[in-house]
Symmetry: D2
């Protein structure tokens, strides 16, 4: 069975091709749409406490699921247009973060890597 990220990439290619939307999907436009969706995902959390954000009321939860999906879809589409392998890039970034945040130095701390 093909992988989830590949299946979604292919579904989005088909979706865009059927609507002749390739012309609008420049990396710049997709990066803009992604940032807008990420802010829409943040919107329902903005006046919540940390604790409140762990217990979303059902209607907010549905909205949040849609926004999570929108962010993923634009992200996959943008990576596709830039010919970036998202999975590989993500694992490489985790390895890099592991170097920037050694376990001993960053345990229990939310400081940035240039402050530890």
């Amino acid at each position: 069975m093909t992988d989830s990220l590949i299946r979604l990439r292919d579904a989005l290619r088909e979706f865009a091709a059927a609507r002749e939307w390739e012309q609008f999907h420049s990396p710049r436009n997709l990066a803009t749409a992604l940032a807008v969706e990420a802010a829409e995902l943040l919107e329902p959390f903005q006046w919540l406490t940390d604790e409140g954000s762990r217990n979303l009321p059902p209607d907010k939860r549905v909205a949040v699921e849609h926004e999570l999906a929108d962010v993923l879809l634009y992200l996959i589409r943008l990576a596709d247009k830039l010919e970036v392998d998202l999975e590989r890039a993500a694992h490489a970034k985790i390895a890099l973060n592991g170097e920037k945040y050694p376990v001993e130095k960053s345990r229990g701390s939310s400081r940035k890597y240039d402050e530890i």
Copy 2:
């Protein structure tokens, strides 16, 4: 073999647990970090034309790959904390978008669904 999104989710769980970062990873904090990363991804595109955004210089390309990865990592982590199945949510959203943007009405148009 397990799926890419599951493998990344598990790698992030392990990364956070080793550093005792669970305490910082409220949905609210993660949604904030995601929005910040999405804007960092937009940053290198902001003064480019559509055409320029299709031909990034090599140094910008590397930076963009890292930002794509950061967005994916926070997205997976946030979905994990909210117990949302990202793949399922993404396919459900594609189906919903198919209803909002019927092929016949949206072909070659970048208008929003409430304007077509």
Copy 3:
């Protein structure tokens, strides 16, 4: 003496004209730059508690002042290109918010107007 918003608008006009930057200052580009700056302003707050955000360390405070300024500058420039009177628009919005959030119904509550 002319007003602060007018003085800043004029200083920015002069700055852009001297550098022949009018060509880059489409409303779309300026709105993108503004969103990027707003996220950069959010960045130093992202892992802070509410209390921590009230007591920024001196180096973060300087960075935050610069980002506050950047947001204001792009905002004034964007309003100028769109021929919007920012001060008038802001007072009109406060009046509108007063109708959406009547004192009696919204006292001590962070709920959105469509939830009160």
Copy 4:
């Protein structure tokens, strides 16, 4: 007559005090709300060309005016809570930008200061 930024600051203080909203207005919360509003301001521009963004249809124009106002209001409120003099910070930033972007080197170029 007092200055526009001071009048708006005072109107917002009164608005928040009447609703007992001081408790929600931590710098962190206000910076989050500001970033959300900046993305809402970007939203109507996201699929437009530069040229299209210079000629907004009337309904989009009204929405954009409201979002411009929202960004300004949160910005003034955030600066107030941080005790930052916005006007002074903005003029200081223009002076700094003048050093980063000397006229001779940046004329007609949209490159960042570290690339010129």
